[in-house]
Amino acid sequence: MSETKSTIQTESNPDRPVSTTTGETEEEVRSEWREYAFDGEPKLSVENLDVYYGDDHALRDVSIDIPEESVTALIGPSGCGKSTFLRCLNRMNDRIKSARVDGSVEVDGEEIYQDGTNLVELRKRVGMVFQNPNPFPKSIRDNVSYGPRKHGDIDTGVLAGLLGRSNEEREAELVERSLKQAALWDEVDDRLDDNAMGLSGGQQQRLCIARCLAVDPEVILMDEPASALDPIATAKIEDLIDELAQEYTVVIVTHNMQQAARISDQTAVFLTGGNLVEYGETDQVFENPESQRVEDYITGKFG
């Protein structure tokens, strides 16, 4: 395993084009960057990523390497581009008309922003839980098994039944496991056939997590998965994330500093204007941030 250096080093790349709009912050930001190095190949490697919505420059020149089997927290004030960044990692930004993405994102060393990328495969590998819960207007069971069914991993159709290839047991198992992981099973085990729209907001959010887990992705992107949850469910989700980090690469957006500090291995701080200001080991970032602005943000003086 080789040592990989992450984030941009100004020294090594001094004449990289600099965004002109905020030259002043650019200087400031650059001086704050610090190397974050870890062992092993990065799972996700983002380089010089710029995102524009029309003329609106939402992410500025973000470069970051995310290690495998770890939890990475993204924090920063509202509107700084955390969701935008997350959506770049599985190319969900393609679905926004006005969005334009420049730069490179590699998953396992494979560039995803190139012609011929199979988006369906990519999103199977890089799953996502959205900021707002968005279950399908289907039964709870169908919501969870939706992905595997569509991928052909589970077939409970009439034809499969006739041919004796129905996997209803496997489906039931998968549904139970995913719902348990998402800390929802106890609340819904007796009404799996009810419509998911009848769940509370927090339950819907956990259902969306279960739905994402059922597909068994390698990377899980979570956009504030606990924002609508009570402390107990939040604790369960945090346990889940801890557990997931054994096998998966988790990238999580959160507004809750304590949560970020508790669950993440490394933390990236975005500040207004779409700048990645600091990225490093969570303890480092929280206890000893290099940038004054980051310290202000973390301690609540600025946001």
């Binding site: 495969e121 999103r123 968005n134 399908f136 939706y146 419509n195 729209m197």
Partner: protein
């Protein structure tokens, strides 16, 4: 003249005066209902009720309403009832009352007093002005009760005294029309009861915000009731007129009906229906006791089924392309305008198209198939429009969620977008079926057989399928035969006028056919609504 400013969140007890206002509201509702009934000839204004002519009774009730309303206004003005009136009834009410009183004054002056056009205008202007002033200037309790109550009193007086009564008729100016009491009395009563009811409801609410709310509520509520009443009246009218024809010769007894033989695997079983309903099971023939419309019923049903089978897959497919795949822009706009235009194209144009384009291609004769396709073309734009609307209103979150799970676009459309859009699609099809099932012009040109279709000409689409030795291996001559349909049969009966010689009672036959048409369309509706309910339930529960 003390302004009552105190307001109670909870009114502890209703005063006698308030109760009286409530009674006035009830009277107005009763009057409104009676007038509706009179319009539909359920009751007759020339009849007498308890020894009094109906119009006098209505007039008396109206006068009572007028007195109560005006009295309540006066009582409130003198501070005898706790109310919270505003400073004025407002410009809208004033304008409305002045317009109403302008018409009343003008009519009374020029028609009853006979002072001519100039006199009429003068009288109208005078009364209109007074009404405006009376409504706008005094406090709300007087402004909104006096003009309405006075109108009810005036109309009630005219009816009571027989100025407008059973023997009366009115030919306005030199118009070529005469109004008779059966129309005029209900119309006047309805209008005055609406106004009186509005004023009474305001009074009951103690004027002010609550009064306005109650007044508006009453108007809206009565209007909604009136619409329902019109609908019910229409259906009832058709049912009454059509029932004798439809139920002619119906017998219920063991073995009375036709027999059906079911045979399978060499065994055959004959069922004899216990109901004989000749109107529904016969065609028209010289030897029949009772002529029926079976061929037309079957024709209409197949027509609708065929055009739906043709239009729905095509239309939904087009909608999927337009809303999910096509870049929203110039092209989709053009398609949208074109489909809207097609939907509002007169049906005779579709009929001519079918006649000139389809007929020559299907053997040159009118046929069921040309009718199906013509109506299918008519239905197509509506299916496209409503399906597209329905798909565009499916939230993008569902699509995003599905895409983020690594599900392809087509699978997303099939398993998320279409199910969510289905209730909307079904609504569109329901609307469309209502239209095409009753369409006459295109059928006339593309499919219709004779005026009286013998039972032997009932199409047998299912039994008509044959296997052939050469491609396409399946043929169905039944589709290529001319047949009848219910709306066409009604049209032919009414216009041809030659049916009298063959039918005992052509009018009863025509009304019976209409009733059956209504029943067939409503059954399609019912099927559609049940389907939509099913899909909705799946989405929401």
């Amino acid at each position: 003249m003390s302004r009552v400013t105190e307001s109670a969140l909870i009114r502890e007890e209703t005063s006698t005066l308030e109760a009286i206002a409530g009674v006035a509201i009830g009277l107005c509702a009763l009057l409104f209902a009676l007038a509706m009934a009179a319009l539909f000839e359920v009751v007759t204004v020339t009849d007498s009720v308890a020894g009094l002519p109906m119009s006098n009774v209505l007039g008396g009730l109206l006068a009572v309403v007028g007195v109560v309303v005006v009295g309540f206004g006066a009582a409130s003005y003198r501070g005898l009832v706790p109310t919270e009136p505003r400073a004025s009834a407002g410009a809208v009410a004033a304008t409305a009352f002045s317009a109403i009183w302008f018409v009343v004054g003008g009519l009374v002056a020029s028609q009853t007093l006979g002072v001519g056009l100039a006199g009429g205008l003068l009288g109208g202007g005078l009364l209109g002005g007074i009404a405006f002033a009376v409504t706008a200037i005094p406090r709300e309790d007087v402004g909104s009760t006096l003009p309405a109550g006075a109108l009810a009193l005036l109309a009630g007086g005219a009816l009571l005294t027989g100025v407008i009564g059973p023997g009366w008729s009115w030919t306005p100016f030199d118009l070529n029309a005469t109004f008779f009491p059966p129309i005029v009395v209900p119309a006047v009563v309805m209008f005055c009861s609406l106004l009186g009811g509005w004023a009474a409801a305001k009074a009951y609410g103690g004027f002010g915000a609550r009064g306005r709310h109650l007044g508006a509520y009453l108007l809206v509520y009565l209007n909604a009731l009136a619409i329902v009443a019109v609908l019910v009246g229409l259906v009832a009218f058709v049912v009454f007129k059509g029932a004798p024809g439809v139920f002619e010769g119906v017998t219920v007894a063991a073995g009375a009906g036709p027999s059906t033989t079911v045979s399978a695997f060499g065994f055959s079983h004959t069922v004899v229906w216990p109901v004989s309903w000749p109107f529904l099971t016969n065609g028209a023939a010289l030897m029949n006791d009772v002529d029926g419309v079976l061929p037309a019923i079957v024709g209409t049903v197949w027509l609708v089924v065929g055009s739906v089978l043709f239009a729905v897959p095509l239309g939904v497919g087009a909608a999927v392309f337009l809303s999910e795949y096509a870049e929203q822009g110039r092209f989709t706009q053009v398609v949208e305008i074109a489909t809207n235009g097609l939907w509002s194209t007169p049906s005779i144009v579709f009929g001519l198209f079918g006649y000139a384009f389809l007929l020559p291609r299907f053997g040159g004769e009118k046929s069921l198939l040309s009718g199906m396709l013509t109506l299918g073309f008519m239905l197509l734009p509506l299916v496209v429009i409503t399906s597209r609307e329905a798909m565009l209103s499916v939230p993008d979150e569902y699509r995003d969620a599905s895409a983020a799970l690594g599900v392809s676009k087509w699978q997303t459309i099939r398993s998320v977008v279409l199910p969510a859009a289905l209730p909307g699609v079904v609504t569109g099809v329901i609307l469309g079926v209502g239209r095409i099932a009753g369409e006459t012009a295109p059928i006339l040109l593309t499919m219709a057989g004779g005026t009286f279709v013998p039972g032997s000409q009932t199409v047998d689409v299912i039994g008509g399928f044959q296997f052939t030795a050469s491609p396409p291996f399946v043929a169905n001559p039944a589709l290529l035969e001319a047949t009848s349909a219910l709306p066409y049969q009604v049209y032919a009966l009414v216009t041809a006028g030659v049916g009298g010689s063959q039918l005992n009672d052509p009018e009863a036959f025509a009304w019976g056919t209409t009733l059956v048409l209504l029943a067939v369309v409503l059954s399609f509706y019912a099927v559609g609504i049940v389907t939509r309910y099913y899909f909705r339930r799946k989405l929401h529960q």
